[in-house]
Symmetry: C7
Subunit: 84 residues, 7 copies
């Protein structure tokens, strides 16, 4: 199992933040993935900075598919404490 | 069956919204797909923001083929309630 | 037969509109294709918006080859009624 | 034999016009090709629009190799009448 | 074992700096990698130059996955002395 | 032997001009190549247009390697007369 | 052994200059490479032109890994005299 797959396996059902090559950030609950790094996220939101400098989010779908070749970085803010 | 294929299988005959790498959003009824993420959509519309800030749509074809390597994100606003 | 191939098979000898990654739209009669989505079009025209806002076309060849990796979306305005 | 190969086979020793992904147009006599769409052209000219709006050409070599992955569209203005 | 894999093997559990194709620099402790150059980093920080010219960092996650195809250069400032 | 390989084989030890995807032109004596279109050139010079409109060259190395995927067009100004 | 591999083999432990697709130039001692053109360089420096027009360098690491797909041109200023 590759490093990427193991990382995603441990992140299942956790909230992840994905930065995409088009400059967009998407946050959602990881429900599924495959070895192309295609991701299925629930309660997905786009995260952006409003003109007043505040960070905002807007829903992009209850369940979305992100094509894996768009991914730059994935972070899983809430699961590190589960790692040994 | 990969995560992407399963997602598209569940979205058959539903309305999906596709964001493309050229910045365009396309909405239509998913009629078919293959493992390159090529998509066949019916009643396809391009979604865009008009200069007055309103979201508008304009038809791009009763049946269109989207080449899969252009896809960034797919969402299926109306089928989440079918998921277990 | 993949979804893309089936779509193109049904579009043979019909007029199709192809949007390309360089922002150009090409319209022509589909005469042939292969599994790279390479397309042979007859009476091909580039479609563009003139400075006065009008949509215009200019011929780019009686028979042209479009390399498949440039394709974003293909639509076939006149064949939907043939679908079951 | 794929559609692209058959198209190029019929265009051998004819003048073809090639639009490239960097925005350049090249015209020349097709002398050879392979299945990557690499092209060997004789008497190759770059076609461009001068600042005064006129279309001009300038020689880029008696025999040139174009790497196939740069190709967007190929047209063969003078051979359509040979097609059945 | 390829040069890239050997380099990463020697950098395990060390702090590495990764420059990405989108212009971002990320620094973190290398915890895992695979042969796509996918990287798992702990205590990852984005490094950037503030408007006043100072170099700053901001945390992007306790454990992140970087998709390998985004990598330009990796440096491991603190392990050179371990090399023979 | 593909068209590209035959072209390069005939260009061995001749001066070639290579246009690259980053807009740079490189000229040099072709000493070696492989089937990725990687090129080894001797006495390589970058060709550029100076602000005064004159074409100039500056040496970039007595022997350089060009990674093949950067190549757009290769021309070999001095060998056409050797072709049958 | 391909042309690229032979070139790198002859450049081992020599200073090489690498131009990258993001416009950066890196110079360092070649310590290792593989068939993806991944490069391990020691005493790596970024070479750039300062606002006053002078060429400057700044260290980017005692040992760095450059992912091969970023490479445009490699030159080895000091080893040509070793070639037969």
């Amino acid at each position: 199992m590759s490093s990427a797959m193991r990382y995603l396996s441990k992140s299942m059902n956790a909230s992840i933040l994905v930065s995409l090559k088009n400059g967009v950030f998407v946050r959602g609950i990881l429900r599924s993935y495959d070895n192309h790094l295609n991701l299925i996220l629930d309660n997905a939101e786009e995260i952006y900075t409003a003109p007043d400098g505040e960070t905002k989010q807007s829903s992009i779908g209850k369940r979305v598919l992100i094509r894996g070749d768009n991914v730059i970085v994935i972070s899983t803010p809430k699961i590190e404490e589960l790692e040994e």
